[in-house]
Symmetry: C2
Subunit: 213 residues, 2 copies
DNA sequence: CAGCGGGGTTAGTGGTCGTTAACCTGGTGG
DNA sequence: CCACCAGGTTAACGACCACTAACCCCGCTG
């Protein structure tokens, strides 16, 4: 474990504090002086590490989107390589996303809150990564719940993301017993949501309109 | 229906456009000139209607928090007055929240995104309204799913709010067939989530730790 | 020991933004 | 006809803020 955290570099410190501050007060609500102060240097010293304030946000958002996607891809590949059932792969995806949501709360917040503050090129990259991540989920979900049309499945995935990403809101008094219990509860909630969506098809006549691909 | 929309007053126009802009670009990302331009007047003309930019945000957030709470109270009272089962009351709460989420997307976004930009007094008021709304749900949820400890139920409610409030994210191509289908899907997702949380108690030994009150 | 470059510092600088001031106008009641 | 007032306008002010410039220090390496 000592190789995992070999004294964080200054860049990493800055990114971590910037993420926290951006999540707390919004991108426009935080000044570079505050970010600098949070890591012990002051103001324009940040420009020795980043070309600008927006570059920090970009790196944060690209980073988390990329890590989510690669993590998801790895889990999907593990399931496909072995003969694992799709339901197990979905379990694994859910677990991975919960880990992110619980361990990187500020990033989860930024991830769907400050995307529009990026330059076009960065924003497109992040959106592309996010879209791939969603489509990864959609494929797995449709294997597990084949009665869901593609559009329905996508809506379900977005909704479950909203559910899993709600962790920031329940952090106030450390309400839940512990991390493991919270993770287990979120897992059950997510699975239940998919089950519920799959259960009855709601209005008949709306489902078969969505062609498979 | 003509009495419902008797030509929107200027104040209402301003609030509506301000909500849209705040939701799109964040409170700090929108200038008063843009808000004014969105309603056909320009810049400081807004100060004939509001004492300042923050007052607009405050009115928006207090408004939606209040409407959510009063709507929830009404639905709970209707269920209690008649001999309705708690499950029906929960259905009604879910339906009401979905209506808000689908009809007032910008406000739903602001509601959990820009709360910290308010003055202390306003923020406390909004938080109080939000807390009462959550507690209303928690009570109903615990009647329907009595095996949930209070803290668990509260976490579930927050998570389901996250789920229902995810509607902004799926709006891109009008993915789902129509409003009714989307609402039905969200309803099934929410109910399924509660069912999933209630299903197996996860780790035994963690549940009975949470005292009822 | 020279030099040099990574990583700081403080002092501007230009631009944006919320807010105020001063002024205008068209309708309305006495 | 006059006073007034709700609801605008433009101009300006002051604060803030991202970013740049100029300078500095110190641990290397040759």
């Amino acid at each position: 474990m000592s190789t995992q955290a070999p004294a964080p570099t200054r860049r990493e410190q800055i990114l971590k504090e910037a993420a926290r501050l951006f999540a707390e007060r919004g991108f426009h609500g935080v000044g570079v002086d505050e970010i600098g102060a949070a890591v012990g240097i002051s103001g324009p010293g940040l420009y020795r590490h980043f070309p600008g304030k927006e570059a920090m946000l970009a790196e944060l958002l690209v980073g988390i989107s990329g890590r989510l996607l690669t993590g998801g891809k790895r889990r999907a590949a593990e399931g496909e390589g072995a003969g694992r059932a799709p339901a197990e792969v979905l379990d694994s995806l859910i677990e991975g996303h919960i880990d992110f949501a619980l361990d990187d709360r500020p990033l989860i917040i930024l991830h769907d809150r400050e995307l529009d503050r990026l330059r076009d090129t960065d924003r497109k990259l992040v959106r592309s990564l996010q879209r791939q991540y969603v489509e990864l989920w959609v494929e797995v979900v449709r294997e597990v719940y084949p009665r869901l049309a593609e559009a329905e499945a996508r809506a379900c995935v977005h909704a479950v993301f909203g559910l899993l990403n709600s962790t920031p809101h329940l952090g106030r008094p450390g309400a839940l017993p512990g991390r493991a219990a919270t993770a287990a509860l979120l897992h059950r909630l997510a699975l239940g949501a998919f089950e519920g969506a799959h259960g009855a098809d709601g209005e008949p006549g709306s489902a078969e309109a969505g062609q498979a691909r």
